[in-house]
């Protein structure tokens, strides 16, 4: 270029010599924040992580990412009350991402295509006893097995599944799905002993020479309440009714069924009764709908199916062909108070769904172990007062849902593993929560939640076919793509595009970006235009 005229002609791109980074007072930084869905998942799933894979149709990868935390996606996709969706930031935009239905799709896809879990790398040579083959026990067994331990499950019942089988009706939890997912867990080499109730914990430990144990016995004992009843009155408890559905002989409830209680079990029983041919299924609950512990979606489905609910009512006595209920009223403290006003309801049977307790008899004589109002006390590491004995699920103080139970199983497994190896398991510290305010939602295309197909009413009332269907592939992918990727870069190239100084370096697929501080003037456009709030501006120290 020497021959070119001086100064008035310049060589291309030579301004690289001018490092405008020195102008900067604020510096952009990439961050990874905790998405509210992950934050809210009792099973500690990396929901955003597997949605990201599902978005591009990498379903097996997504499923594997999912099952790193939860071995029962097909079950979860049906029975989980998905707090993740309640927390989802997208709800503030249009409607929450249908995480649960995508999870179910992945679960079903895995069963359809027969994806298997990868077997553990090497054996630790340790034996662990898991008591109870419910969600919590199965989850713990799964994780322990994958960590290389030999696991034996002892289940009192005839079949594995616990509450998933004996507490949740078919129309919500088809048994073939349940069986398949349990089988896939056991295929990891786990020994399952059914009808093998543990009467004495310590003996059991000794017999099997187990190095540690995880107690995950479900709450199968129905709570009773004294209700004066006529000699011919037919009074049953919800647990045995639902259990009976798994036997050859379903309980005889008659044509007019009253269910007493306000939990999910009450609703399950009422809906079951309807399907068993009851013309009238009435739930009697002493408080209001707002106070009702049963999950709203289930109450909704029940009402759709013609279940009646008597709010603010208690049962005084059960007569031969009827029951007497008393109207209640809420006092200023919101407590239900009797009014003395009574009413007769015709009834062929009364089912009590007043909650369940765990049978803790197996723990008698175990030193150091502490029981407070019906549940076992455990530490942060889920170990009971007795070294080597851990507990979870219905046995410990917590919300009693399948998902919580699965979560307990995972945590316990990690602590047990650490304990067996003479270490302590320290859960990873949680990132700052990714809030809606940090998002730039302009960049997301408008996309309302997709609706899962629903079984038509007639068959809902007459059969035990599954009520809610699954999403087809394209819909599931679409639903996954509604994810906003809150707080974590999804490589949308916005920062790379909007930088007026080309100071963002794109590192390539999966590699994210780098900021070239030689040229970044700190204008903040990258932060302002980052859709998912994965960039923050920090002051330059001078």
């Amino acid at each position: 270029m020497k021959r070119k005229p001086f100064a008035i002609t310049l060589d291309p791109g030579s301004s690289l010599a001018n490092h405008t980074g020195t102008w900067r007072t604020l510096r952009p930084e990439y961050v990874d924040n905790l998405p509210p869905c992950n934050d809210a998942c009792p099973a500690g799933e990396n929901i955003q992580g597997w949605l990201y894979l599902a978005e591009s149709g990498e379903y097996e990868a997504a499923w594997r990412r999912l099952t790193d935390d939860n071995p029962l996606p097909a079950v979860m996709g049906r029975v989980c009350y998905h707090p993740c969706e309640t927390a989802c930031n997208r709800a503030k935009l249009d409607s929450a991402v249908g995480i649960n239905s995508v999870e179910r799709f992945l679960g079903d896809e895995a069963l359809r295509l027969g994806w298997k879990f990868r077997a553990p790398v090497e054996s630790s040579g340790k034996n662990v006893l898991v008591v109870g083959a419910g969600p919590s026990g199965l989850s713990a067994a799964y994780h322990l097995a994958r960590l290389g331990h030999r696991v034996t499950i002892r289940e009192a019942g005839p079949l594995a599944g616990g509450m998933m089988r004996f507490g949740i009706p078919k129309y919500r939890m088809p048994r073939n799905i349940l069986d398949a997912e349990i089988a896939r867990i056991l295929a990891l080499g786990i020994t399952l002993l059914t009808n093998a109730r543990v009467d004495n914990k310590l003996e059991a430990m000794r017999d099997g020479s187990f190095d540690a144990a995880f107690l995950a016995v479900g709450a199968h004992v129905a709570r009773r309440a004294y209700i004066p009843a006529g000699s011919a009155a037919r009074v049953l408890d919800a647990v045995s009714v639902l259990k009976g559905m798994e036997g050859e002989e379903p309980a005889k409830l008659g044509r007019r069924v009253i269910v007493y209680g306000g939990g999910n079990t009450a609703v399950d029983v009422a809906r079951t009764a309807k399907r068993l041919g009851a013309t009238e299924a009435i739930i009697v609950y002493r408080r209001t709908r707002e106070k009702m512990p049963a999950h709203d979606s289930e109450v909704e489905e029940a009402l759709q199916e013609g279940i009646l609910i008597k709010w603010l009512s208690t049962i005084r006595k059960a007569n031969d062909r009827s029951i007497t209920i008393e109207k209640m009223t809420l006092d200023e403290k919101g407590q239900a108070q009797p009014t003395g006003e009574v009413e007769e309801l015709a009834a062929d049977s009364l089912v009590l769904a007043l909650g369940q307790d765990v049978d803790l008899s197996l723990l008698e004589g175990v030193p150091g172990l502490e029981v407070v109002d019906g549940v076992v006390k455990v530490g942060a590491d889920m170990m009971t007062g007795h070294a080597g004995i851990f507990a979870g699920g219905d046995m410990v103080p917590a919300e009693r849902t399948v998902t919580v139970a699965v979560g307990h199983g995972k945590q316990a497994a990690r602590h047990i593993d650490a304990w067996l190896r003479g270490r302590r398991h320290v859960p990873a510290s949680r990132h700052e929560l990714a809030t809606f305010e940090r998002l730039n939602t302009w960049y997301y295309s408008d996309a309302p939640k997709s609706v899962a197909p629903v079984l038509d009413m007639l068959r809902r009332q007459s059969t035990f076919e599954e009520v809610v269907g699954g999403l087809d592939e394209s819909t599931a992918r679409y639903e996954a793509r509604r994810c906003l990727s809150c707080g974590n870069c999804f490589e949308c190239d916005n920062c790379y595009g909007v930088c007026p100084d080309n100071a963002i370096v794109k590192l390539g697929p999966g590699q994210r970006y780098q900021i070239n501080l030689d040229y970044c003037k700190g204008c903040g456009l990258c932060e302002a235009e980052c859709p998912c709030g994965a960039i923050r501006m920090v002051p330059e120290e001078i």
């Binding site: 270029m1 070119k4 005229p5 100064a7 002609t9 310049l10």
Partner: protein
Amino acid sequence: MLKQVEGSQAVAEAVALCRPEVICAYPISPQTHIVEALGRMVTAGQLAPCEFINVESEFAAMSVAIGASAAGARAYTATASQGLLYMAEAVFNAAGLGLPIVMTIANRAIGAPINIWNDHTDALSQRDCGWIQLFAEDNQEAVDLHIQAFRLGEELSLPVMVCMDGYILTHAFERLELPRQEQVDAYLPRFEPRQVLDPAEPLSIGAMVGPEAFMEVRYLAHAKQQQALELIPAWAEEFHRAFGRETGGLLHLYRADDAETIVVALGSVLGTVKDTVDELRETGLRIGVLGLTCFRPWPHLAVRAALADVRRVVVIEKSLAVGLGGIVSANVRGSYTGHPDHVHAVIAGLGGRPITKRALHGVLRKAAEGELEPLTFLDLNRQAVERVLTREREVRRSGPIAESVLRDLGVSALKIG
């Protein structure tokens, strides 16, 4: 080949022989015949490949030429008078960017009052813009200078103005020799730009230059013009060998050997001056002529040498630096080693006023007798001027000057001579 042809037509044909690739045309008298003729040649396909562009103003004409030249095309345009002023910003820019555009100036006065006739005010108003400025004495030289201009400009990467007197030359029919294409092709090589906009080798042209380098850029422009002072005579000599004509160069001397008085002038008036000088010589006056072909760069050394032993210099110039006097004479004084008072400025022919031999006889004789003022206005109508000045002294609202002069002269019908 020999031709009896109008000056504009001849120049158009000469430009065509130089194979310009982009020609910008905007009409203004007396330049129009040139671009009209070129337009005809382009449409007739005699001049191809060539883009003939009708622009919306002289400013655009020069700007289009700038773009074309920067993209490596040989660019040409022509203008005059107000047109040159209207493109002035782009004229400076072309020089600053070092783009070898060639432009014909059909010299014409500048208003107000509006005047379409010939003088040199337009070209001289741009004397400091960085262009090379060549003045043609007759149409033969106009033809030859254009051919030399393209070569000169492209070698130095500088734009060149070829100035020819409006009407007097542009509209005059006379005998001249038009070179053959192969002659011109042999003399004028293909345009090899020093800088060109090319995607294959990107660069930025026209960057902003601050105090740290601006002086240097200006100096280099000056240095280039100094180089031109060597190239111009050298290539005029080469032209002479190739075409057999002594045209171009820095300046021409006529009967100057033993002269005590030298008349300096540029442009077509030189012919009348030479005739006059011949007649004066017959009366025994030792007088000669210095004809300036190159006004920018100013041929300082050549002029100084030519005037070294001269008693007095009379500069006949067709422009007036209002408030100073002569422009050419001011430049001549700088190169005259004798006493500055012996350089006489004679402002003549403004706005097309004919410069007659009679008038020249008068003023030159007076000069020879040592009675010529430092600044003279040839054939100035004293009475008319005095009348206006008196009126202005007497009346506040004395009205527009131009109109009152005309009224006083009673000029309505056409005046001859």
